[in-house]
């Protein structure tokens, strides 16, 4: 199967890449973390340091995968970029400006869908627009578009309890895209899905990325997923978490699942695994 790049298993992931970008397409934001340190209060007087001295620059429109062991501070870093956590030391910048709190240009997809259980899928997707004060007509038009784009059509009137896990995460993704973010942060977004669905979602995610080219930071536990999605894979390790490796992934886009059998992928996977093992051992 090695070299089977466009075989039967391969699906055009970035089929929208060449599609003309609309004038409204926001493009990506530039993220810069310099010497970021975050700690949490713990039992007693001590504080537990979650991440320490993290430097990370993400160029506009780039996709960066962050991988590392549990408790390695991956989610913490995402929350710093999302403006939900203030670093104790160091600085976090978006397009050169300090991140002082949640920003409409940045959107976070959580590990769980976190849908409002009493609202239909469509009204969940509309939620950020409601909060932002969009009028009804504008909301409805955007919801219709998003529902189509993420593949929720036909399920928009159902409440979350009536949706499959995959459909719920589609709704969460649509909601995250609602305000056309320039930065999309994903915290193990597909980890609750089965392996096949997950692969398909990753392909679709790249398709969505191809529409507006937001900057994407995705936290994952899966080495394969990290490689498939990322322009770079950043390995976090140790306690407190630090960047132990930052590997470019030389896979051409648009990417297809067939590329997962590429020699480049197995070499990258080998290297990532070595870094992970080392950081756990130390």
């Amino acid at each position: 199967m090695i070299g089977d790049r466009h075989g039967p298993g391969g699906r055009a992931a970035d089929r929208h890449v060449t599609a003309q970008r609309t004038a409204a397409a926001p493009g990506g934001g530039r993220i810069a973390l310099h010497g970021v340190n975050v700690s949490f209060p713990a039992a007693g007087r001590q504080r537990v340091v979650a991440v320490d001295a993290v430097d990370l620059d993400v160029e506009a429109g780039q996709i960066v995968s962050i991988i590392g062991p549990n408790g390695g501070g991956k989610s913490t870093l995402l929350r710093v970029i999302a403006g939900l956590l203030r670093p104790d030391h160091g600085e976090a910048l978006l397009d050169g400006q300090p991140i002082r709190g949640p920003d409409p240009r940045v959107s976070l997809v959580f590990q769980e869908p976190r849908l409002l259980p009493w609202r239909s899928a469509a009204r969940n997707v509309a939620y950020p627009m409601e909060l932002a004060g969009w009028d009804r007509a504008r909301r409805d038009a955007r919801v219709t578009e998003l529902v189509r784009v993420v593949g929720l059509a036909g399920a928009e009137d159902r409440i979350p309890a009536e949706l499959s896990g995959g459909m719920r995460q589609r709704a969460a993704l649509a909601r995250a895209l609602a305000l056309e973010p320039r930065v999309l942060l994903l915290d193990e977004p597909f980890s609750a899905l089965d392996a096949l669905t997950r692969e398909r979602f990753n392909v679709e995610l790249l398709g969505l990325w191809g529409r507006t080219h937001p900057t994407v930071v995705v936290v994952t536990h899966s080495i394969q997923e990290a490689i498939f999605l990322g322009d770079r894979v950043v390995v976090l390790g140790g306690r407190p978490g630090r960047v132990v490796a930052d590997l470019p992934i030389q896979l051409p886009r648009p990417r297809t699942l067939g590329q997962l059998d590429d020699a480049v992928v197995s070499a990258a996977a080998h290297e990532i695994r070595a870094h992970l093992d080392q950081s756990v051992a130390s």
Binding site: L84, R114, L131, A155, D157
Partner: protein
């Protein structure tokens, strides 16, 4: 259009369910009345101890027809409505503060619990002394008695709001007001209505207790009259039935409002 075919499951009663419910209800009522009649017959009780259901129903009808019960019932209804309204409004605010402020909880909760532990029966005469035998004392008693269950259920409901949803709201830069109206209230609504259901029935109890302690009108007063100067025991029972029906009717109103609001979320 398959989406519209996929209706939300059972929000409200299916038609078959409603019919069988009505049948069960009627059967239960029949059984209750039959049992009542049987006790009267078997026990051989005189009407001034336990009148048979037929006599009570008859007195209920004549009591409403000749205007004996209606003005008292209206007065009690007004007391309950005002007292419940005032008490519930205060309880919703205090319940929210209890849930969201540790300071308020530490400051206020001992007094709330202590007030709840004091029997309303003991407070009623004092409140009647302070506020007079008119409407005000009953409204105060009703408000006091409904306060506790509604405040506690509001507190529990607001505290139960999923922290993940609150973080979502924060990441979407929801204002305090938006968090309240789009997350906290909708999520706490079932719990709050649990308290309101209990509260509305207690409000009826509060009004009757208040009227017992001294009143110029009301169903509680009518009980006293029927038992005392009028010595009309069927009327006493007819008044009890009226009180029970009032409680059931108010409870049903609360349940209907609950359904309406849950659907509007």
């Amino acid at each position: 259009m398959t989406a519209n075919a996929a209706r939300r499951p059972d929000r409200g009663l299916a038609p078959t369910g409603r019919r069988s419910q009505v049948m069960f209800g009627a059967a239960g009522l029949g059984l209750f009345l039959a049992l009542w009649q049987a006790i009267v017959v078997v026990g051989g009780y005189p009407p001034f101890i336990l009148p048979p259901p037929g006599a009570v129903m008859g007195r209920l009808v004549t009591g409403w027809a000749d205007g004996t019960i209606a003005p008292h019932a209206l007065r009690t209804l007004i007391e309950v409505a005002l007292g419940f309204g005032v008490g519930a409004a205060a309880a919703l605010v205090v319940g929210y503060l209890l849930a969201r402020s540790a300071f308020v909880e530490r400051l206020v909760s001992p007094y709330i619990v202590a007030a709840q532990a004091t029997p309303i029966l003991a407070l009623a005469p004092i409140l009647t002394l302070w506020f007079g035998p008119g409407l005000t004392s009953k409204v105060v008693i009703c408000a006091l008695i409904v306060f506790f269950p509604i405040a506690i259920s509001t507190m529990v409901g607001i505290r139960s709001v999923d922290a993940g949803l609150l973080e979502l709201g924060r990441s979407l830069r929801a204002t305090r007001r938006q968090v309240l109206t789009t997350l906290e209230i909708p999520a706490a609504l079932p719990s709050i209505f649990g308290g309101l259901r209990v509260g509305v029935t207690l409000a009826v109890v509060g009004a009757i207790v208040g009227e017992w302690a001294g009143a110029d009108q009301g169903l509680g007063l009518l009980i006293n009259l029927a038992r005392g100067s009028l010595f009309d025991i069927p009327l006493l029972f007819a008044t009890l039935v009226t009180i029970a029906l009032l409680g059931v009717a108010l409870y049903v109103v609360v349940v209907l409002v609950e359904r309406l609001l849950l659907r509007a979320r």
